[in-house]
Symmetry: C2
Subunit: 212 residues, 2 copies
Amino acid sequence: MSAEAIPSERQQAVLDAVLELLVEKGDALTMTAVARRASCSKETLYKWFGDRDGLLSETVRWQASQVRAGNFDAQHLDSSALRDSLRDFAANWLSVISSRTSLALNRVAIGGAGSPPNTLGAIVLANGRFAIGERLKPVLEAGRAVGLLHFDDTEETFRTLFGLVARDVQVRLLLGEAIELKPDEILADAQRAVTQFFALYGARENPAKPGH
Amino acid sequence: MSAEAIPSERQQAVLDAVLELLVEKGDALTMTAVARRASCSKETLYKWFGDRDGLLSETVRWQASQVRAGNFDAQHLDSSALRDSLRDFAANWLSVISSRTSLALNRVAIGGAGSPPNTLGAIVLANGRFAIGERLKPVLEAGRAVGLLHFDDTEETFRTLFGLVARDVQVRLLLGEAIELKPDEILADAQRAVTQFFALYGARENPAKPGH
DNA sequence: ATTCAACCGTACCGTACGTTACGGTTCGGC
DNA sequence: GCCGAACCGTAACGTACGGTACGGTTGAAT
């Protein structure tokens, strides 16, 4: 597979097997185990993906292609619509970073990010943090255009929103703490983050009252 | 070494060698390389630290014992003193999580956090995220006691401050992005985080004007 | 001077994994 | 029905590493 090609159905099945094993075994994933789980030969793995790193890279892209959340349209943008969009984004982001597959992929990417070439880390960043940023910035700027938000630097503003949403959750999960996020907790957390975000960047009329 | 003992000077030299190699080689650290770098025998390594995991655990504790920042006293607590304390905390925390040694240790801990027993991840969390929380909470509560801060849940409040300080920096660094944080940038970032924090939790007189 | 414990350097063992090679099988095209 | 490509299952190779064993050396206590 070249870096741009879409994996065939058979190849997708292999990549799903990789995801399964990554969740189960963590970085102790072996090519033999992948071949056995996917009922394919190791020779095929190497023909399709080049080497172990290529297989993992393709797995990252495959998983990323599955979590693209719905787009946010900038139509009928009043305050509550913007708040809803941001809340949905935050909730989606929280459930992604706390999903077992995302955690497993981030772990192997981080574990291998020590010494170059650091292919996995770059791919994860491009498909995770930066992809979400590019999808959200138009929403923030649309909110600013209609006077609902006040800020200068879109990138900086997004980073603050990112911090308010993720807080210490991602690092704690990556380090193995067993945090269970139920759907309603995720929604409440997302709501809190958005409320705080509007307290910082929202239009000044109707000052928010954060704190609990 | 038992889990509680203080390493001897010779042992500290070994642990420093581990830190060096961890920064250089990442998770590809081998016992042979440690022995060679530290000019000691592998037999001694195993006698002192039990096994590879024990060596890494002791290294985490050793590094953590070196980054304890100065305590914050709650005397003469006016608004600017509290802001300074929080800013110093934030700046210290940013420089710690962006240091090469901390990054290397977090990477190996995260890489091994996939499958139990996850000793390293727990140790890193206890000495990092949770230790900093326990040291900062008294400051927040002292600020609340004198009416400078308004909040209900100390833990929740700290987590928000954590998010405002770290934002996406830690994850991006862990994934291998080459972000250089100069001291003045760290200080400016810390200042921004504290300003935003006071906008959310500060006393209502003198409303802050965040955004840049 | 002797003893003894700690330690260094190195050789060694078992194992596990990435990668390659090969024989057998399936299946679409002719 | 035949051919060739793609693929499966497995065996094999080379290497690298964690962990152990052992002889030699130092240095302090007696």
